[in-house]
């Protein structure tokens, strides 16, 4: 049987500053959504007589520069790629030992009548959204069902968060742990965070008043407007987390109706991360609305 085989892509131009761990915010597919039309179309050259095929693609890297990526692949025809010559030879070996006198009806080899599946511990896909970064604080919102997940170091089944040996090393997470709890207390609206239990010790922010919250550090604060009504803080955190460490997420909630007022703030630890988030997400289509993401204007006081 003839099979074609790809003999290793050879990236010619490559963005060297790309981090090893891809976050979805840096994934190529997402890149293309709003900016693709600005790029020259993908070119495919070949395959020529040697089976060399070139694919030329253009992409924006994270700094917004255009990068040309040439992928060269060779396609080869392999005869009998699946079976080696000697394996074919072995096929015709004479039976020996007990196999010589095997009864026709012995049926030593049977195909199972039962269809056996690789049973997933969770439904496939339900885990797909789970963050792969260990220690991702977002884990607390989605792994609510898994017992004993340390929210500080992300270890499962080893210890509770309060007993985490790495507690002191972890970045302070109260910044956004207290907020969902506060909004939970203030509103009856349902959101993805509702299922997650927030222990009393983490509810320090619940006692704080709204004005107290507003007096927070406004450094690297990004204002997000034109949010859909369904957007809650965890959603916003999920959206902005890939760009870097987030210290606070806040979505304005109407006290009377409990609905989102359509804007929120995200504070980043690093200013560069915030700038990247603005570059990437301003004009991004989120929940059928076009987001507006900008620097929050400094407070008058």
């Amino acid at each position: 049987m003839a099979l074609s085989e790809t003999a290793g892509p050879v990236p010619v131009a490559h963005n060297p500053s790309q981090p090893v761990k891809l976050r979805w915010g840096e994934l190529d597919e997402d890149d293309g959504e709003d900016l693709d039309f600005l790029l020259p179309p993908r070119q495919i050259l070949g395959p020529d007589e040697n089976g060399i095929k070139k694919v030329i693609e253009y992409k924006f890297n994270e700094d917004g520069n255009k990068v040309k990526i040439t992928t060269t692949t060779r396609t080869r025809k392999l005869a009998n790629a699946r079976l080696s010559k000697r394996a074919v030879e072995r096929r015709s070996w004479a039976k020996f030992g007990d196999a010589v006198h095997e009864d026709v009806g012995s049926r030593l080899t049977m195909v199972s009548t039962e269809e056996i599946l690789l049973e997933r511990p969770r439904a496939p896909g339900s885990k797909a959204e789970e963050p792969k970064v260990a220690g991702d604080p977002l884990a607390q919102f989605q792994k609510g069902a898994v017992l004993m997940v340390c929210r500080t170091c992300g270890k499962k089944g080893d210890h509770w968060t309060s007993r985490c040996p790495y507690k002191d090393l972890a970045p302070p997470i109260e910044g956004f742990v207290d907020k969902p709890a506060a909004s939970e207390a203030a509103t009856a609206a349902s959101g993805p965070a509702k299922g997650a239990y927030v222990p009393p010790g983490m509810r320090a922010g619940a006692e704080r008043t709204g004005s107290d919250m507003r007096r927070r550090n406004d450094e690297n604060s990004v204002r997000v407007t034109n949010l859909s009504e369904d957007t809650r803080e965890p959603d916003l955190l999920e959206l902005f987390r890939p760009f870097g460490a987030v210290s606070r997420v806040y979505v304005a909630i109407d006290q009377k109706t409990g609905m989102s007022r359509g804007f929120g703030f995200v504070n980043f630890v690093n200013r560069e991360d915030a700038q990247r988030a603005i570059n990437k997400l301003n004009g991004y289509g989120y929940d059928s609305l076009i987001l507006r993401v900008e620097w929050a204007t400094p407070r008058a006081n």
């Binding site: 080899t109 056996i116 690789l118 511990p121």
Partner: protein, 326 residues
């Protein structure tokens, strides 16, 4: 997938091994006849008759011409793979537990059990190219570890021998001098008997399974612990996919407790884990006894499991297995 069931053995399976091309599957069981099967359709090619005890382990040479088996009848035997003919018998004073050909097939390491006041030992034998030159002399005998040595394999470039067994300590020996080079850290290492040991396709790391309900991934040179996979039952067999970053653990409750409990409680599944994330991917059910042996086809597209129930189950993966996402 619809597994192929091979019922050639009368007694529990002990070991499974594919040849390098992945077209033959060798199975060992507590009955006395190691068997070779075609790995694609499960047809029986032949049996190797001559052992007089449970066969614990086997290995096949790179050119698929020689088979070595270790048996509880206190011998290890060399076989002609094609004809089933016995080529040579290594005699010991205690049961042979594990056998492994070195890279190049010029050496073999055989471990023997502690028996009648004899301590366990690791023997290194020269394998002659021509069977008429073959001798039974050991070029090296390593003694020291207490209790059974369940597996001994060759390390990178045949320079070391990696052994593991009942004392739950993994050791690396110099294969020329027999000197102990490294010992696994007691803190991070296994707590109970190590039952199985599987090398990665490139030999750079290996996986051990233990009755302490975990499997651990180790660096073959530095013996540093890389990953730990935790399950809820003792691990009898481990295998590593040569294609994807998957490891498979097989096990189940103790064989003596099987008849007293429901088969669903036994958890006789082959459990798939992501090698890097240490997350469980899924389980393949089917055996109605603990899994004693696991092997991956070298092409990574099928695997087989052998159980206490005497069956070998050969699984060819469905196409969607190759795109599983965690």
């Amino acid at each position: 997938m619809r597994p192929i069931l091979m019922k050639g053995h009368e007694r529990p399976l002990t070991f499974l091994k594919y040849n390098r091309d992945g077209d033959l599957l060798f199975s060992c069981a507590k009955d006395h006849n190691p068997t070779v099967w075609f790995a694609d359709n499960g047809e029986r090619l032949g049996t190797y008759r001559g052992h007089n005890g449970a066969v614990w382990c086997c290995d096949v040479s790179r050119d698929s011409m020689r088979l070595i088996t270790g048996s509880a009848d206190q011998t290890a035997k060399l076989w002609n793979v094609q004809t089933g003919q016995q080529l040579f018998t290594f005699n010991f004073d205690s049961p042979a537990r594990s056998v492994d050909f070195a890279v190049g097939d010029k050496l073999a390491v055989i471990t023997t059990d502690p028996f009648m006041e004899l301590s366990s030992a690791i023997h290194v034998k020269l394998i002659a190219r021509d069977t008429s030159d073959q001798t039974g002399d050991s070029i090296l005998v390593i003694k020291g570890p207490q209790g059974r040595i369940n597996r001994a394999i060759w390390g990178p470039l045949n320079k070391t021998i990696i052994s593991a067994g009942e004392d739950a300590v993994i050791r690396i020996w110099d294969s020329e001098t027999g000197k102990l080079l490294k010992e696994a850290d007691k803190e991070s290492g296994h707590k109970k008997t190590i039952t199985s040991l599987a090398k990665s396709a490139d030999g750079s790391h290996f996986l051990t399974g233990s009755l302490d309900k975990s499997a651990k991934l180790w660096d073959a040179r530095s013996l540093s612990l890389i990953k730990t996979y935790v399950t809820e039952r003792p691990v009898n067999a481990v295998a590593m996919s040569p294609l994807l970053d998957h490891v498979v653990l097989g096990g189940g409750q103790d064989a003596s407790a099987v008849t007293t409990t429901d088969h669903r409680a036994g958890k006789f599944e082959a459990k798939f884990f992501d090698k890097i994330l240490q997350e469980e991917i899924g389980g393949v059910k089917g055996h109605f006894g603990p899994i004693n042996a696991l092997a991956f086809n070298p092409d990574g597209k099928s695997f087989s499991s052998g159980g206490e129930d005497g069956y070998v189950r050969l699984h060819h993966f469905d196409p969607d297995y190759f795109n599983i996402k965690i």
